[in-house]
Symmetry: C2
Subunit: 158 residues, 2 copies
């Protein structure tokens, strides 16, 4: 399966890197009081529960698109409670692990048009998912601090 | 220089991905009023200027460490004005581009102990720099919103 390009990181290590971030994001969801998760924000931004629904809504449809080149309509995960959000989160965790290896290795270097509108290399599309999650989770950290709650340590990914 | 591992992304594309983030972070620095950059925050967190100094302080010493396996003591960039911060930012941009290719490709798969204390694969160390920047920039976005200022679009990396 090796290709002829130099590797900064392999597909499998990138999946594991992402799942490490996802474990931290899960702990960030858990850190919110249940009555704040979908209600509290700063500066008129979206609450953290909504941001997490967006992360879930993007993840598996992007992987499916990379496998099949069929792009479903983007739909936010419908969870409205912390419990259902965490369940949707865990379902996504399992689905990423199950389907990731079905993306052909060479395809990460191909340019794709995701969801009919975003054209970029497949590796940039996957990194967009990770970066979007890190970006919004950083915002969640500010919400937690504004609530007087210590966020989970940024470096803890296990 | 090709190695035998499958590539999710090449070292050069990862450098370009990081520089895209760094262009966005530079615009985020510029978006702060000069009297808020080192003074304003939410929830008792560090102001964005301090966070940007941390990003600068980590970037080149990490690359130098990966090239030479000599780890300098971490030092935050000394900038205290927006102008000097942007100058330090641009100096770092040039230094990353100049030195990146001196990291041997195979070294990204080696486990390193950075700054005498953080042991991880070199690719994870580099991604930590990128992720730390995205994380703190997301916090900067909340500060800007709390100030009534529209942050730069997240997807704009040119």
């Amino acid at each position: 399966m090796a290709n002829q390009l130099p590797a900064f990181i392999t597909p499998n290590d990138l999946r594991e890197h992402w799942q490490g971030h996802r474990r931290l994001t899960r702990r960030t969801i858990e850190a919110f009081p249940t009555d704040k998760l979908f209600a509290f924000s700063v500066g008129g931004m979206r609450p953290f529960g909504e941001l997490a629904r967006e992360m879930i809504g993007m993840a598996v449809p992007t992987i499916e698109g990379l496998i099949s080149d069929t792009w479903s309509a983007y739909a936010e995960a419908p969870a409205t409670t912390r419990e259902s959000l965490l369940q949707a989160w865990d379902d996504t965790t399992a689905a990423i692990d199950e389907r990731w290896a079905s993306i052909p290795v060479a395809h990460f270097q191909d340019t794709v048009t995701a969801f009919g509108q975003w054209t970029m290399p497949a590796h940039a599309l996957v990194l967009y998912l990770v970066d979007n999650e890190v970006h919004h989770r950083g915002q969640g950290y500010v919400y937690l601090r504004a609530l007087g709650i210590e966020p989970p340590p940024f470096y803890a990914r296990t």
